[in-house]
C-alpha cells in the first residue's frame, strides 16, 4: 500500500514537473535510429542547431518497434511538449488518430501528409534532388550504367529512384539504370550485408556509380562500392566523408532545416502542408572537400543550371507519387 502511495506521489510529481516544463519542443525519431547517418540524424542535427542557438532544451524519443508509435506520440503530448516533430511517413495513420485527441498541441510530420487542423505536414521533393545526383552519376559514369539501391520498397523510395533515373537519362539517354530494393519490411533499413551484396551484384553488371537510398543498409552499399573502387552516392545527410574521394556526392534532404524551422516557430507553428522543393532549398546535392576532385567545374555548371531550371519551374521532373509510374525506369 505504501508502495502504491509512493508510486502515485512519484507520478503526480512527474506530471507536475512535466507540466511546468511545458512548451519544450519534442522530436520522435523513427526506426532507423537517431544516428543512422542519414534521415534521422539529419533531424537530430537540426534540433541540436536550434538548441545551441536558442539555449533551449527539447525532448526526444527513439521508437524501437512499430507498436510504440502511438504510445510515444501520446506520451510526449501528455507531457506537454509542443510542438512535436514526428519523423517518417509510417506515422501518418498514428497521427491521424492521436492528433485530434490533443487539439492544443501542434504536430509536425516529416515525409508524410496528415490533414488535421493541428498538424503541419512537411514533404520533400526527393525526385528533384535525386534528379540532380542522377545527372552527376551519368556524367561521372564511364560504363554508362548507374545503379540505384533502395531500402524498403515503398512509393517514397521509388520516388528517389525515379528522379535519379530521369537525371541519368537526361544526360545520357542510352544509359542503363539498375534498380534493386532491399526488402519489403522494416528490416530492409538495417541490413548492410544485403546492401553490400546488392551493390556487388550491380557492380558485376557494369554499374560504376551507385545511389543508395536505404538508411543503414546504404552504409553497406557505400562500403562495397568503395571496396570495389566504384563511386557511390549517399542520401539524406551529407555522407561524403564516410569514404572520402569515393562517394561522388550525397542527395541532401534538408530534414535538419525542417526540424529547425519547426522548433523555431514553436507553439505558433502554422499547420498545413509545406513542400520543401529545390526552390525552398529543401533538397540538393552535397559538395565539400571530400568530393571536390570528383565533381568537375563542367559537371557542377550543368547541374546548377538544371537546378535553376527546376526551381523556376521551367523543367518539370516526373513525380512518382502523382501516378505511381515512372517513365525512366521500372521497379
Amino acid at each position: 500500500m505504501t508502495l502504491m502511495k509512493h508510486l502515485a506521489a512519484a507520478t503526480a510529481s512527474l506530471a507536475l514537473t512535466a507540466g511546468m516544463a511545458a512548451a519544450d519542443p519534442a522530436l520522435i525519431f523513427d526506426l532507423g535510429g537517431k544516428f543512422d547517418k542519414s534521415f534521422n540524424e539529419s533531424a537530430y542535427e537540426g534540433a541540436q542547431r536550434w538548441a545551441k542557438e536558442t539555449g533551449g532544451s527539447y525532448k526526444e524519443l527513439e521508437i524501437q518497434s512499430e507498436a510504440q508509435r502511438e504510445q510515444a506520440i501520446r506520451r510526449l503530448a501528455e507531457s506537454g511538449a509542443n510542438p512535436i516533430v514526428v519523423m517518417s511517413f509510417s506515422n501518418i495513420e498514428t497521427l491521424n488518430t492521436v492528433a485530434p485527441d490533443f487539439p492544443e498541441t501542434k504536430f509536425v510530420l516529416i515525409d508524410g501528409v496528415v490533414e488535421q487542423p493541428n498538424v503541419r505536414s512537411i514533404v520533400f521533393a526527393e525526385h528533384e534532388g535525386s534528379y540532380l545526383v542522377g545527372m552527376l552519376a551519368a556524367m561521372a559514369s564511364k560504363s554508362g550504367t548507374a545503379g540505384f539501391i533502395g531500402g524498403m520498397d515503398i512509393p517514397l523510395i521509388r520516388q528517389f529512384g525515379c528522379g535519379y533515373a530521369q537525371g541519368v537519362k537526361a544526360v545520357n539517354p542510352d544509359a542503363t539504370v539498375l534498380t534493386n530494393m532491399t526488402g519489403s519490411t522494416g528490416a530492409a533499413w538495417n541490413d548492410p550485408v544485403k546492401g553490400g551484396e546488392l551493390a556487388k551484384s550491380q557492380i558485376s553488371q557494369g554499374a560504376d556509380v551507385i545511389f543508395a537510398a536505404a538508411g543503414g543498409t546504404g552504409l553497406g552499399v557505400l562500403q562495397a562500392a568503395a571496396d570495389a573502387g566504384v563511386l557511390s552516392i549517399g542520401v539524406d545527410s551529407n555522407q561524403n566523408y564516410l569514404h572520402p574521394g569515393k562517394v561522388l556526392t550525397s542527395m541532401l534532404k534538408r530534414v535538419d532545416n525542417a526540424v529547425y524551422e519547426s522548433f523555431k516557430a514553436g507553439e505558433a507553428l502554422e499547420p498545413g502542408m509545406i513542400n520543401m522543393n529545390l526552390s525552398l532549398q529543401g533538397v540538393g546535392y552535397a559538395l565539400d572537400d571530400n568530393n571536390k576532385d570528383l565533381i568537375t567545374d563542367e559537371m557542377k555548371a550543368k547541374v546548377d543550371e538544371a537546378a535553376a531550371k527546376i526551381a523556376s519551374g521551367e523543367l518539370k521532373i516526373h513525380d512518382y507519387h502523382s501516378d505511381n509510374t515512372c517513365p525512366a525506369v521500372t521497379f
Binding site: 540524424e41 520498397d153 530494393m181 528490416a187 541490413d191 556487388k200 551484384s201
Partner: protein
C-alpha cells in the same frame, strides 16, 4: 543467363550462405543434443557486435573473432544454464536471448562509441580480406574452369573456407566419434546415456558450447567479412533462416550444406534479378525473397519427406522423478 552471370550468382551464393551455414551447424549440434535453440539470431547478433567493437578498438581482425566467439559463448552459457541446469523452457530461453542481444548490442554500442549502436567503420586490418588461392591468376584465363576457380572458389575470406570445412568435420564428429554418438544419443534417449554412466548434462553443455563457437563465427563473418562494422539488427533474420535450413536439412550436416547453399542461392538470385520475367508473367522479387520460408513450410507439411526432430529435443532431462 550467361556463364559469367551464373558464376557471379554462385559467388554471391557462397558469401550469403556462409553465415547461414555456420549458424545452421551451430543449431545442429545443439538440437542433436536435445537442446532447441531459437537464440541463434541473438547469438549471431551479439557476436557480430562484440567482434566489430573489438576489431575497431584493437585493429586486429582475429581478436575480433575471438571476442565474437566469447560473446556468443556467454549467451550459450545462459541458455545452457536455463535449459539444462534449471530445466527451463528452451524456447522461452531462446526468445529471451534474442531480445537480450537485440537490446544489449545497441545499448553497449551507444555507450562505447556514441554512434547510435553502430560501431565505427572498420578499415584495413580490422576486416577479413579476400584470399586469393594459389595459381588463381594462372588458371583464370582458361575457359569454364578458369572463372570457376578464380572467381567462385578463390577470393573469399578465410571464414568461408572454414565454414565449408566445418561440414565434413561436423559429420565426422557426429557419426564417427564416441562423443558424437553420445551427443546424438542424448538428443534421442538421454536416459539410456545416463544408464551407461555418461553425464547427460556434460554432453549437453558441450553441445551448447560448440553451438556458441559456431554462432560466434557466423556473427564475426557478418561484421568483419561481409560488412565493415556492426549496425543494429544487422543479422536481419539470418538466424531464423538458419533454423529453417536446419529443419530442411533434417538435422544432418551434409544436408545442411545443401540447404544453406539453396537459401543463399535464392537470395542471390533475388538480388541479381529483382523480378524474374518468364515471358508470360513476371515473378515479383517478394516471392523470391519469401521462397526459403515457403520451402520450409512445404517441408514441414511433409510434402518432400518427413523432417523428424531429435526425439528428446526440447525436453529437459530429469534423472529421477
Amino acid at each position: 543467363m550467361d556463364f559469367a552471370t551464373l558464376i557471379q550468382i554462385l559467388d554471391s551464393t557462397v558469401r550469403l550462405a556462409t553465415p547461414l551455414l555456420f549458424a545452421c551447424l551451430a543449431g545442429l549440434f545443439s538440437e542433436r543434443a536435445g537442446v532447441f535453440d531459437i537464440g541463434l539470431e541473438g547469438k549471431m547478433l551479439a557476436a557480430a557486435f562484440l567482434s566489430a567493437a573489438v576489431a575497431a578498438l584493437t585493429g586486429s581482425v582475429w581478436l575480433g573473432v575471438l571476442a565474437g566467439i566469447f560473446a556468443s559463448l556467454l549467451l550459450s552459457g545462459i541458455h545452457g544454464l536455463a535449459a539444462i541446469t534449471f530445466r527451463g523452457n528452451q524456447l522461452i530461453s531462446g526468445v529471451a536471448i534474442n531480445f537480450l542481444a537485440s537490446g544489449l548490442t545497441v545499448l553497449l554500442g551507444q555507450k562505447w562509441f556514441g554512434l547510435g549502436g553502430r560501431t565505427p567503420s572498420l578499415t584495413d586490418g580490422g576486416r577479413f580480406e579476400p584470399i586469393t588461392l594459389p595459381f588463381a591468376d594462372a588458371i583464370a584465363p582458361l575457359p569454364i574452369i578458369g572463372p570457376i576457380y578464380a572467381e567462385l572458389i578463390s577470393g573469399h575470406s578465410i571464414l568461408v573456407y572454414l565454414a565449408i570445412a566445418c561440414v565434413p568435420a561436423s559429420a565426422w564428429v557426429l557419426y564417427r566419434t564416441r562423443f558424437g554418438l553420445r551427443l546424438r544419443a542424448v538428443g534421442e534417449n538421454p536416459a539410456a546415456v545416463d544408464t551407461a554412466g555418461v553425464s547427460v548434462t556434460g554432453i549437453r553443455y558441450a553441445a551448447v558450447a560448440i553451438c556458441g563457437v559456431l554462432c560466434g563465427l557466423a556473427g564475426a563473418y557478418l561484421a568483419l567479412g561481409l560488412a565493415a562494422g556492426f549496425g543494429k539488427e544487422m543479422t536481419a533474420g539470418r538466424g531464423f533462416i538458419a533454423l529453417a535450413a536446419l529443419i530442411f536439412a533434417k538435422w544432418r550436416p551434409w544436408y545442411a550444406l545443401g540447404a544453406t547453399m539453396l537459401f543463399g542461392f535464392l537470395e542471390a538470385v533475388g538480388n541479381r534479378f529483382p523480378s524474374i520475367d518468364l515471358g508470360l508473367f513476371a515473378i515479383p522479387s517478394q516471392f523470391v525473397q519469401a521462397l526459403p520460408y515457403i520451402i520450409t513450410v512445404v517441408i514441414l507439411a511433409g510434402f518432400i519427406g518427413k523432417a523428424r526432430p531429435p526425439r528428446a529435443g526440447g525436453e529437459p532431462y530429469v534423472k529421477e522423478r
